[in-house]
């Protein structure tokens, strides 16, 4: 889809996306080659086909897909583009797999500034490159003003998982340890701090990051002793553990005092009446690990930059009610439930 002949250059500084950029014509070809290919540049895209062929290694393939609709699009520590890359890489990685390729689909609202689109595409390209993953297919649609909130991105990821590794949320067993890779709630608080109607000052930045390299060292240390891995995104740690409890038909008992939360995140949550274990993360994982392997896996996590604050926060217990319980740092106990509805500041 290279552009031949005369065409006005994309005004990447002041220009805006209009309906012609989604029409399938020359303007769209120009947008794709002048902006997306520039940002993602790799040998597969350079061939300009409607699909990309790639070689398959031994093992089993893993595939996942996810849509990104974050508001605001830019937040401390990242933007919707880097998030769309990291999020999908992480979904692949949580199977223990090595992520290889991504596809990206853009739904852009008419009037969206090229400068923002370029910044977003550039950060996707950078995030993919530093993860060693390639964006090899894509799609662009432009919708009329008012029909999308600026920009939506969907990404699909493919990876290969080594033979013998079979992580799944129904595999947790009584006695397993619950490990988290670091402090909770950073992403959610960073995004909230920039929402128009709650804006506040904070030094908290999103933890958005690709976790597959951390996963690799964990797998090297724990192998099949790792039973489940999940990244606690929307709904936070609480939702993730409730899901695992239901899929594995057991309960969890956590120690509140062991759960890492940054003071600034804790203070913000306090102020807004939220609970950090319900707040979203984009660069953290939860691992359920057989007790004999837990120390080795935890040590491997702590030795990796993305797991330096990793902690053992509790254990899986027999419980036919599938409750996630927590011993509060205050000496009592409580349930940790799924969040219902949207987490919203209280009124009094």
């Amino acid at each position: 889809m290279s552009v031949k002949g005369y065409q006005r250059k994309l005004d990447l500084e002041n220009g805006r996306v209009d309906l012609s950029h989604g029409s399938g014509g020359r303007a769209m070809a120009q947008l794709i080659s002048g902006l997306f290919h520039q940002a993602f540049g790799n040998e597969w895209l350079a061939r300009c086909n409607d699909q990309s062929a790639f070689d398959v290694a031994a093992g089993r393939m893993v595939m996942t897909t996810d849509g990104y609709v974050v508001s605001p699009l830019f937040f401390p520590g990242g933007n919707i583009g880097s998030l769309a890359v990291h999020g999908t890489i992480n979904d692949v990685a949580m199977s223990g797999a090595r992520p290889l390729y991504l596809s990206a689909s853009f739904i852009i609202e008419e009037g969206f500034p090229f400068s923002d689109l370029k910044a977003i595409a550039d950060s996707m390209g950078a995030a993919a490159r530093s993860a060693g993953v390639y964006i090899i297919a894509g799609d662009t649609k432009v919708v009329e003003r008012g029909k999308a909130d600026g920009l939506f991105i969907s990404t699909t990821g493919i990876g290969i998982v080594a033979d013998g590794l079979d992580l799944s949320a129904d595999k947790a067993m009584v006695g397993d340890r619950v490990l988290v890779s670091g402090s909770l709630g950073d992403h959610g608080v960073a995004v909230m701090s920039k929402r128009q109607n709650v804006a506040f000052q904070t030094e908290v930045v999103s933890d958005s990051a690709a976790l597959h390299k951390l996963v690799a060292v964990m797998v090297a240390a724990g192998g099949s002793g790792i039973r489940v891995m999940r990244d606690p995104t929307r709904g936070g740690l609480a939702a993730t553990l409730n899901e695992i409890a239901h899929q594995s038909e057991l309960g969890f008992r956590l120690q509140e005092a062991s759960i890492p939360v940054k003071p600034a995140v804790a203070a913000t949550c306090e102020l807004l009446g939220l609970d950090p274990i319900h707040v979203a993360n984009e660069g953290k994982l939860v691992a359920i690990v057989a007790p004999d392997f837990a120390d080795a896996v935890l040590a491997a996590m702590k030795a990796h930059p993305l797991g330096s604050d990793a902690a053992d926060i509790g254990e899986a217990v027999a419980d036919n009610r599938k409750f996630v319980q927590m011993a509060t740092s205050f000496g009592g106990r409580r349930i940790v439930d799924w969040l219902w509805g949207e987490q919203l500041p209280r009124i009094c």
Binding site: A266, E270, F330, G332, R334, I335, G341, R346
Partner: protein
């Protein structure tokens, strides 16, 4: 965070717990009602009940503004947003509060009503400025704590000549509700437990002071301790109540002296009294019509009063007969004693108001306390 940590220290909590344990008499039961949902929330979230002796029991009171809002007021708001010119501004936790037919503002919004979730009254002012041709109505709700910001909003609207802004006023008063709970013969009729003392809400008292509770303590012979919302505040208040009961005293004591005085905040009270006046009576979910318990705008401010401006009239609707909210809000029953609890009625599908707000008694039990279900069922 330093500030809050001091009020969550486990060692201090256990020290207070030991003091409570040492001072309670094994010969009697201590039943204290925490009036306010903020306390219910702290008790459940920190698992405070595990720290108390078996004969000290907490009874959850009505004190969540969303919980005590009768279905009729939701119905009225839904009628209001049926008008195409109206933009309704509400706080998030009100969105799912059920009306009389199980409808909610959330559903009305999905069906196309112009309802905006806001975080402060300033958002409503901004909306009214941005859309001068719209009728922007602020759904005001809350106890004495949230009334001053509503008053300030009306002042600003007046100064800025914002013609399109008005208030649907649902502000209510805590001492009147406490009075009604103590006086209400229904508590005895329904086999409700007698109450030996109250924990009073600190946020409310930062505005009104502790003084308005004094006649109540005196008239009904019940100790009242005004307490903060940190878990240590609550533990300390329980100890203070135990001591009063043991000494046969019934005074208003102030645990939250770091922010509360006997007189309260004069400026805030003045501001409120210039703009609002008492309603003769106001309906509370669970308590029925309570005299002198609600606020409305003074006639001089009728242009800002959505009820006057849109001629919306008080509705009277019946609550779901199977829902035990009424008994729960009066302290006569516990959530697990309701047949609908956790089966038909959950936070995703709330039937009654206690399940709607995160501070409601049923929601608090469901969210934090279910682990004690069996134990509760056994003792209830």
């Amino acid at each position: 965070m330093k500030y809050a940590d001091e009020f969550r220290d486990k060692a201090i909590a256990q020290g207070i717990a030991r003091a409570i344990g040492a001072e309670v008499s094994s010969q009697r039961a201590y039943r204290f009602m925490e009036f306010c949902g903020g306390h219910t929330h702290a008790i459940s979230r920190y698992g405070l009940e595990d720290l108390l002796p078996a004969n000290v029991r907490m009874i959850h009171g009505p004190g969540c503004p969303v919980c005590v809002l009768p279905a009729s007021r939701i119905d009225m708001a839904i009628r209001l947003v049926d008008r195409p010119e109206v933009t309704l501004c509400v706080y998030g936790d009100l969105m799912r509060a059920p009306g009389s037919q199980g409808q909610s503002l959330l559903r009305a919004k999905a069906l196309g009503a112009d309802i905006r979730m806001i975080y402060s009254t300033l958002d409503a002012i901004r909306l009214a400025e941005q859309a001068p041709s719209r009728e922007v109505v602020f759904f005001a709700i809350g106890f004495e704590t949230t009334t001053p910001p509503t008053a300030v909003m009306i002042r600003i609207a007046e100064k800025k000549r914002l013609k399109g802004l008005s208030v649907f006023c649902n502000h209510v008063l805590t001492p009147s509700a406490m009075h009604s709970i103590l006086e209400n013969p229904k508590i005895r009729d329904t086999g409700g437990v007698p109450i030996d003392g109250f924990i009073g809400p600190a946020h409310v008292s930062t505005i009104i002071g502790t003084q308005p509770y004094e006649p109540l303590a005196e008239q009904f012979g019940k100790p009242i301790v005004i307490a903060g919302f940190e878990p240590l505040d609550v533990m300390q208040a329980i100890l203070m109540l135990v001591r009063q009961v043991n000494e046969d005293r019934y005074q208003v004591e102030n645990q939250y002296s770091r922010a509360v005085t006997r007189e309260g905040n004069r400026r805030a009270k003045d501001e409120v009294s210039q703009i609002f006046e008492l309603r003769e009576q106001f309906e509370w979910r669970g308590l029925g019509l309570v005299p002198n318990s609600g606020m409305k705008l003074k006639p001089a401010y009728a242009q800002f009063d959505a009820e006057a401006r849109f001629a919306i009239h008080d509705l009277r609707v019946a609550d779901n007969p199977a829902c035990e909210c009424c008994a729960i809000l009066r302290g006569a029953k516990r959530p697990v004693e309701c047949k609908l609890f956790g089966t038909v009625c959950t936070p995703e599908t709330p039937i009654g108001s206690c399940m709607v707000s995160s501070e409601g008694a049923c929601a608090a039990y469901w969210t934090y306390g279910r682990v004690r279900d069996e134990q509760l069922r056994r003792t209830s």
